[in-house]
């Protein structure tokens, strides 16, 4: 790397290395100094705000205020004139294949259902099964490893896995090598809009790649929840004559439910903001577009910030119920402790 770039802007470098810690230290020391001057009974009311202040400022400056601007922009055209719901009308025009409908369908139906289910199912199965073997740590580390791969690299790897060569040529893609060895024609996994142009196959191919990357995350959390179940409970169930499947169904699963729900809702949010795998592997072509990628294209390629804002708000509206549910669930889990 060329560190000369860092040195080309010395004042900024000095500000970042020296200035930021000084300002933070001054804020904390100064805040505490002010709090100490206050009468005793007021201190507990003021002190939390001093500490939480910088975080609130950052959230407001880089999340809340821009979100408000995005909402405003979604009701304007690209020259700042108020146009009402026109941007939304453009995005929601020509159901079922026009506007943003393909992206909405892919996000809210295919990605949301299959991605969440696949990851939960694999994560849970792996967590429960590996719990019973002596080499658990080793396998779990292996399954967790794809988490360390950047999503772009993941997309490139899977693009090679899905590589297509016409029938008769050597199949360099792993999946097509397997498929052709079973005497089946090679499949263009990422381009084939099976069945009948509905594009379920290629969307599932993308979801498969994304699932591979995130399963380790679900497995580790679910595994931790599994370890939290007291051994006596399982033992008692077994003593009472419950088979292993019944133990899982009637004891383990209900006790893990809160964790499964929290992991599930987190995955739903991941599914709704899917971007990188689509960007790398299909570029949203062949009916694999998703909302986040559509927003990116409208903003950067079409120079249509108003349309991009409308898509962003549609995405936000889709995420809000999940967020609310997730927060409630967190609170319920807290309350149970």
């Amino acid at each position: 790397m060329d560190f000369g770039v860092l040195l080309s802007d010395l004042p900024t470098l000095v500000v970042v290395i020296v200035g930021v810690p000084i300002v933070l230290a001054a804020y904390i020391v100064g805040g505490e100094f002010v709090v100490r001057r206050l009468p005793d009974k007021n201190r507990p009311q003021v002190r939390p705000w001093i500490w939480v202040g910088p975080a609130i400022f950052l959230v407001a400056a880089i999340l809340f205020i821009p979100a408000i601007f995005t909402v405003i922009q979604s009701f304007q055209d690209n020259h700042g004139n108020f146009v009402g719901l026109q941007n939304y009308a453009n995005q929601l025009a020509d159901f079922p294949s026009g506007g943003a409908w393909i992206a909405i369908r892919n996000n809210i139906i295919i990605w949301l259902i299959f991605y969440t289910l696949f990851v939960l199912a694999f994560g849970l199965a792996l967590a429960v099964l590996f719990d019973r073997v002596s080499y658990e740590t080793v396998v779990k580390s292996l399954i967790f490893m794809p988490m360390a791969i950047s999503s772009v690299a993941l997309g490139v790897i899977w693009k090679f896995m899905f590589w297509y060569q016409p029938p008769g040529s050597p199949q360099t893609g792993t999946l097509n090598a397997i498929v052709t060895s079973l005497h089946h024609e090679p499949v263009a996994w990422l381009q084939d809009q099976w069945p009948n142009g509905l594009a379920v196959l290629n969307n599932l191919a993308l979801i498969g790649a994304a699932t591979w990357g995130i399963t380790g995350f679900a497995m580790v959390i679910l595994s931790a929840a599994l370890k939290g179940i007291p051994g006596e409970l399982l033992e008692a169930a077994r003593v009472d004559g419950a088979g292993e499947l019944t133990v899982f169904r009637r004891v383990i699963f209900p006790l893990m439910m809160p964790t499964i729900v929290v992991v599930g809702t987190t995955l739903v949010i991941f599914a709704l903001k899917a971007f990188d795998v689509v960007y790398v592997m299909t570029n949203g072509n062949y009916n694999t577009d998703v909302l986040a990628f559509r927003m990116y294209n409208l903003l950067y390629l079409s120079h249509n910030p108003a349309g991009a804002s409308a898509v962003a708000i549609i995405l936000l509206i889709a995420v809000v119920p999940v967020l609310i549910f997730n927060l409630r669930q967190f609170r319920a889990v807290e309350a149970r402790r």
Binding site: D2, F3, G4, V5, L7, L10, L13, I17, G98, W163, Y164, Q165, P166, S169, P186, A188, L190, Q191, D192, Q193, G197, N283, N285, Y286, Y296, N297, L299, Y300, L301, S302, H303, N304
Partner: protein
């Protein structure tokens, strides 16, 4: 003890930073540096660096080069953040046209050597870089599109003749298909620009079939996609592709799944998987890097896409990388002036794959008979038109590329595809 060793470590780190800072500042020369953003990587990047070398040696200016295949998005972000590169070389003028209209690009009229540009370039290249009477873009390397590549040895083995008119091209593909081999290799995958090689076919057909007036109207957004002329271009290309893309090696799956640079190389398989491949003059670099033993003329050669309508004979689509300036620095001016010279352009021309628009570039500079011939075609072209989709607004261009993918996927959906394009056309030009 612990805290004092921490403080010591911090002190050492700070000292190291400041020493580095001191060294850094003292070692930077006075000549300065320049930031360039382009889309060239790999072999093309090496060629570009070879072009820069003499200029860097002479001026002592340091080049910071950055490339991205997603140049449009990167440039939009950088310009939006107030941190544009000094110069960019964009594969299409569309992005830069947008920025020029927003006043983000610097007009070059009083910044570079206009007199030398005017005396050495055909007026059409200067017009192409001019927006509202001001020059914003210059061209250093260009390519002729609509060249049909073939392997002369394969043609000879089957005694196929190079077709001289459109009908004989169609006859040839029927003959090849009857022998049990697909006539064409076509590959459309190209990241966020997937579909463009197919849009090249359409442009060439529109220009050669319906003439420059229709072509210009199509570029300007006044010629509807559903009009008989444009629809006819699609159906004519459909004849080349054959029913259900059966004239193309691997059919639609291969076309959609294969990168544009890898498509043509199957002509050189043994036995050949296809006999013809339509691509601009730059494709030779991809041939020789895939199969290094290939020799121009004997192993691969080209003929121009045959004229469709006699009235518009000798019409060709051309394209090139356009340079523009986002920051007016002495270094940027110096490099812009260097890049329009025949000396600079000849360096890449000699390395193959590019044609120079500068009239002073000697024909001897072309490394082989083929590039020389395509350079002569460029000079001799009767009706030269710049790449249509690359002049359309970004929305329209993206929709056109996507339409190519949809058309290849299912040719029977043409009418609904064209209707969608009309819808985009109605809003994209505002």
């Amino acid at each position: 003890m612990q805290s004092s060793s921490l403080i010591r470590a911090l002190t050492v780190a700070m000292a190291a930073v400041f020493t580095a800072v001191a060294c850094g500042t003292s070692s930077t020369g006075n000549a300065g540096s320049i930031k360039i953003l382009a889309a060239w990587s790999g072999q093309e990047q090496a060629s570009f660096f070879a072009v820069l070398k003499p200029w860097e040696d002479k001026t002592g200016i340091k080049v910071n080069y950055e490339y991205s295949r997603d140049l449009d998005a990167l440039l939009t972000t950088r310009v939006g953040a107030g941190n544009p590169p000094d110069l960019t070389a964009a594969p299409s003028p569309t992005t830069l046209t947008n920025f020029a209209k927003q006043g983000k690009v610097i007009a070059l009229d009083d910044k570079i050597d206009i007199a030398s540009l005017k005396s050495n370039y055909a007026q059409s290249w200067i017009d192409l870089g001019t927006i509202n009477g001001k020059l914003y873009q210059t061209y250093s390397w260009v390519a002729v599109k609509g060249l049909i590549w073939y392997d002369p040895k394969n043609f000879q083995a089957k005694s196929y003749n190079v077709p001289s008119n459109w009908q004989s091209l169609l006859d040839l593909q029927t003959t090849i298909k009857a022998s049990g081999v697909t006539p064409w290799c076509i590959a459309l995958e190209s990241g966020s620009a997937s579909g463009w090689p197919g849009s090249d076919w359409l442009k060439e057909i529109v220009l050669s079939q319906s003439g420059p007036a229709v072509y210009d109207g199509w570029v300007a957004g006044t010629q509807k996609w559903t009009s008989p002329e444009i629809k006819s271009a699609f159906t004519t290309w459909g004849q080349v592709l054959g029913p259900n893309d059966s004239n193309v090696y691997g059919g639609k799956q291969f076309m959609l799944a294969t990168n544009f640079g890898d498509g043509g190389t199957h002509m050189f398989d043994n036995p050949p998987k296809c006999y013809m491949h339509n691509q601009a003059s730059f494709i030779t670099t991809f041939f020789t890097s895939a199969v290094p033993s290939l020799q121009p003329v004997t192993d691969f050669n080209f003929f121009p896409l045959p004229d469709i309508t006699a009235q518009y004979a000798g019409a060709h689509v051309v394209a090139g990388d356009s340079w523009s300036m986002f920051r007016d620095t002495p270094q940027a001016r110096s490099l812009m002036n260097y890049l329009i010279t025949a000396d600079a352009q000849a360096i890449w021309v000699k390395r193959g794959g590019k044609i120079s628009p500068n009239k002073q570039t000697p024909l001897d500079a072309y490394p082989d008979a083929l590039t020389k011939e395509s350079a002569q075609i460029l000079v001799a072209t009767k009706i030269a038109k710049y790449d249509a989709t690359d002049q359309m607004p970004a929305d329209m261009r993206a929709a056109a590329w996507k339409a190519v993918l949809d058309f290849v996927g299912d040719q029977s959906k043409l009418d609904s595809i064209l209707k969608t394009l009309d819808g985009v056309q109605a809003t994209a030009y505002k």
